[in-house]
């Protein structure tokens, strides 16, 4: 037991030293915290985005007032400027009073019906989309964005673990280790412990940077704990499947499809097809983080751990075979 502990701490210490020498730890921390800082800066802007209306100068003050109650009004000097503004890519409808005194609505043509309906409602002084309107509730963009970001901060640590294994194989360090008393399980426990601890720390630190002192750090830590097996899964796929850095990149590219698309699709309205996401651990991981951010218990992250666990076990067996074959 004492020997095993010494071997595990030796490998963990070696991994941390290599990570420090190659500045991997610095980049992992800086990259995640930088993104968390950017999220803190930009997500409120995105959430506070108001509908925009382009209005021809000289339009009745009452119309402008009604539109300002529903969004932001941009005044255009002449009709050509109004048309040019409407043709920009941000779905801002145009309004003007034509020569016959009729209220003219200018659309580009690809606006969603909801945009057209809310513009008409605002111009008519009906209940507008902002504040007190009876339109569909706005999606919680900030919580969705943050949960995806924190999930990414935790899971991407797996890349450092996987690429570390690939580099050990390429550099011959793995062959050297095979003639020491080190056992495979000690090697793996060290890898999983270092990446798990780093992932947890990073998830909580990123939440603190992105949200501040108000962040429910306890729930976020629990959600991050549930996501850690996905971090291991990510690292083990790279470590077990790739024999060199190019193959590692190919493995990451293939895996990213599931790691990114399942969580994003989970926030869409899938109707009766939502059950299809059940076996996808990344979906549950992000849902757990989303619950934690909303002050709820992150039970979904437990599902993430349960669904990822068999994959982690299978990949450990595969990695053992690869390591044995390589040495």
């Amino acid at each position: 037991m004492r020997r095993a502990w010494a071997a595990i701490s030796a490998i963990a210490s070696k991994d941390l030293k290599v990570a420090r020498r190659d500045q991997v730890t610095t980049y992992v921390l800086a990259g995640s915290l930088l993104l968390a800082g950017a999220a803190r800066l930009f997500l409120p802007l995105v959430e506070g985005t108001q509908p925009r209306f382009a209005v021809l100068e000289g339009a009745p003050a009452a119309l402008i007032e009604r539109l300002e109650a529903a969004g932001r009004v941009e005044l255009c000097a002449d009709e050509a400027a109004l048309r040019a503004r409407v043709l920009e890519q941000d779905d801002a409808p145009g309004l003007m009073v034509d020569e016959h005194g009729a209220l003219a609505l200018l659309l580009e043509g690809d606006e969603a019906p909801a945009v057209v309906a809310s513009t008409m409602a605002a111009a008519r002084s009906e209940a507008a989309t902002q504040g007190g309107g009876d339109g569909p509730p706005r999606p919680p963009i900030r919580a969705i964005g943050l949960s995806l970001l924190l999930y990414a901060a935790v899971v991407l640590v797996g890349s450092a673990m996987g690429l570390g294994i690939v580099e050990e194989r390429e550099s011959g360090a793995m062959s050297a280790m095979s003639v020491t008393p080190l056992r495979f399980r000690e090697y793996v426990i060290a890898k999983l412990a270092v990446s798990g601890a780093l992932a947890m720390t990073l998830g909580v630190a990123a939440a603190w940077v992105a949200i501040g002192a108000a962040a429910p750090l306890g729930s976020i830590a629990l959600a991050a704990l549930g996501i850690v097996p996905i971090t291991w899964l990510f690292g083990l796929v790279i470590g077990a499947a790739a024999s060199n850095q190019l193959a590692a990149m190919a493995a990451m590219k293939g895996l990213m499809l599931v790691l990114v698309s399942a969580p994003v699709v989970g926030f869409m309205d899938l109707g009766g097809w939502a059950w299809l996401l059940t076996p996808f651990a990344p979906h549950w991981g992000v849902q757990g983080m989303f619950a934690a951010l909303n002050g709820q218990a992150p039970w979904a992250a437990l599902w993430a751990a349960l669904w990822a666990a068999p994959w982690v076990a299978g990949l450990l067996l595969l990695l053992r075979r690869r390591v044995t074959a390589a040495t």
Partner: protein, 275 residues
Amino acid sequence: MRAAALWSLLWLDLRLAWRGRLFAVTLALGAVMAGAVRIFAPAELGGAHELEELAAAWAAEGGRLTTLRPQAQAMTLQARLVPAVICLDVLVVGFFFGGVMLLQEKALRTLAAYRVSPGGAGLYVTSKVLVNLLMALLYTALVLVIVPPAGASIGAIAGVMGVVSLGSATCTLGGIALAAPFRGLSSFFYPAAVASMVLSAAVPAYVAPAFATEGMSWIRALPTYQAFFALCELLGPGGRAGVLPGFLWISGVGLVITAALAWWLTARRVMQEVA
């Protein structure tokens, strides 16, 4: 002489990419993503009936409704997703490949051998760009075969290949320039992931154009943002002025800057450190 050297390098890079399963994974992903778009994304227009009802109600109240670009309605969700499938792989993920190829050769010490050959940094970088370009064009062709763009002319398809080529070259060169100072993939991965996430900020702006306003207008300067709308313009109804010139301007400037940086860093740093 230089053509023969380039051909040798290109052949070597192609074999390495093939052995690393980059081609296989890229094409398999293209097939899966394009297949999913073909199967799940509606190929019919949605909301047209609702818009007609809104227009009728507006007219009944004495209002007038003018659609400046009526053909814009003709883009289905399936058609709108094709530029996203192409851009995400070629530009956002493709950004990694140039850098990874360079780092792989650092690890294998192939670069040390190359240093004492007559080839220079220019040929070395060109070869990487051409391999990624080939992969990007094959991927795009596969996506367009699986989800054929309705009514797109041969000229439009050629234009798509041109946009993909320019975007792929810029991103590969950017990846090489970013990777040059790093020792290995594990230290390069995070900075590249952050850069890729910034490039992918164009995705929500493509889905909801209002996203690129209110302090987020910097997204419009990203080559990915310009490429999304340039592909949409070529594969869709067209008629939106300034989209293609905007892409050409931003990507052209990006290509010149990334080419200069990639060449300079390869010549002055990568080739020196392995000498």
